[in-house]
């Protein structure tokens, strides 16, 4: 027969079972279980904290990116405005300078033309005098006629008028 069914040893087993199970229950309930639970909940708390901080940092990063993009857009707009203004100034300056230079050149051209016309006038009148003298000398030498000197000048003037 199995010793398990011997009632003589039931009392001692039950007694020590009660003692040991009771002590183990006390040790588990008061020490082991709270200690493990504490470590596990502390770990869970740390994980939750870290996750929360991560999401906070993410929000911060996103707002920083937004601020950066806003600043970038603003700077771009400002740069564009500055460029536009300088372009306008340069255009205006170029136009003014062009006008001034053109005016001055036109003035110089006019003065030059006047000088040329005057020189031409002088040259022509000298040419007329020389031509009249040449004609007079030729007439005196060839024909031996002494005509009124003003006649030669009239003839030369007429010829010049005809050809020039």
């Amino acid at each position: 027969m199995l010793p398990q069914f011997n009632p003589a040893f039931f009392a001692t087993q039950l007694f020590w079972l009660a003692m040991c199970f009771g002590v183990l229950y006390f040790l588990m309930a008061r020490i082991a279980v709270p200690r493990i639970a504490e470590v596990l909940s502390e770990r869970q708390r740390r994980i939750d904290d870290d996750l929360e901080r991560a999401s906070q940092l993410k929000t911060q990063t996103e707002s920083a990116i937004q601020a950066y993009e806003r600043a970038l857009a603003k700077a771009r707009a400002e740069a564009h405005a500055v460029l536009q203004r300088s372009q306008d100034e340069i255009d205006h300056l170029v136009q003014t300078r062009n006008r001034e230079v053109a005016e001055r050149l036109a003035g110089e051209v006019r003065a030059g033309e006047q000088r040329i016309a005057a020189a031409k006038e002088v040259a022509l009148s000298e040419v007329k005098g020389i031509a009249a003298e040449v004609a007079e000398t030729a007439v005196v030498r060839l024909a031996g006629l002494a005509l009124d000197p003003s006649r030669y000048r009239e003839v030369v003037a007429a010829v010049v008028k005809e050809h020039v």
């Binding site: 087993q13 079972l17 040991c20």
Partner: protein, 241 residues
């Protein structure tokens, strides 16, 4: 050769008597005390560093805790955590008892019907008390589930009552029988190794090795089964199915 059931013999080590009743400190009691020490050492010494990132022993202790916590969460729900220390103690006491029994020359206190029966009766009585405390007489509704036709009551109610009352028996006999049979089988197989000699003894030796591995599995499994059935009974008492 010693009888295969000799290993189950209770041997008083220190004679103790309380009120005329013999409660001698026996080999069974010795291993219960060792089990308490091992459980406490494993869990409390393992958790001594309380690290955020656990080491090997702390991992094992936490794993054991989570294992029992999951059993309660899955089978009973949040309400069951009030009884977590008891369920946890039950699991540790049975598991360590079964595993200690696998050591040569040790004693398996869970192979005694007196021990398993007492544990099962405590669970049964506790669960029944919790059921009546929470639901009052409505707890009797457990024996006649909602939705069952009234005509089936004369058959259903006796069946449910018998099945409810047989719980402590099935719970205690399952553990006691598994432990006893496993240890007898090991002893018998090991006896064949001696009687068959060096040449043919190799066959039962190989079988002994295989059965030893199996017995370690059963040691864990039966602790798990005992605990999970307790959880299921507790669930009946708390949630009424």
């Amino acid at each position: 050769m010693a009888s295969p059931v000799h290993q189950f013999e209770i041997q008083p080590l220190i004679p103790v008597s309380v009120g005329g009743v013999d409660v001698s400190f026996s080999n069974s009691a010795l291993f219960m005390v060792i089990a308490v020490g091992v459980s406490y050492g494993f869990l409390v010494w393992g958790m001594r560093e309380r690290s955020l990132v656990p080491g090997r022993w702390q991992s094992m202790a936490e794993l054991t805790y989570e294992f029992v916590a999951n059993m309660i969460r899955d089978n009973v729900g949040k309400e069951g955590f009030r009884y977590f220390p008891f369920i946890f103690t039950l699991f540790m006491f049975v598991l360590v008892g079964n595993v200690l029994g696998m050591l040569p020359y040790s004693f398996t206190y869970t192979s005694h019907i007196a021990v398993t029966g007492a544990l099962a009766l405590v669970v049964f009585a506790g669960v029944t008390l919790i059921g009546f405390a929470r639901h009052g007489l409505h707890f009797l509704r457990l024996f006649f589930p909602h939705g069952a036709p009234l005509a089936t009551a004369p058959i259903l109610i006796p069946i449910e009552i018998i099945s409810y009352l047989s719980r402590p028996f099935s719970l205690s006999v399952r553990l006691f029988a598994n432990m006893t049979v496993g240890h007898i089988m090991l002893k018998v197989l090991a006896g064949f190794v001696v009687s068959l000699g060096v040449v043919f003894g190799i066959v039962p030796l190989a079988a002994t090795v295989g059965v030893t591995i199996l017995e370690f599995g059963i040691a864990f499994l039966q602790a798990y089964v005992f605990t999970i059935l307790s959880c299921i009974y507790l669930n009946d008492a708390i949630n009424m199915h």
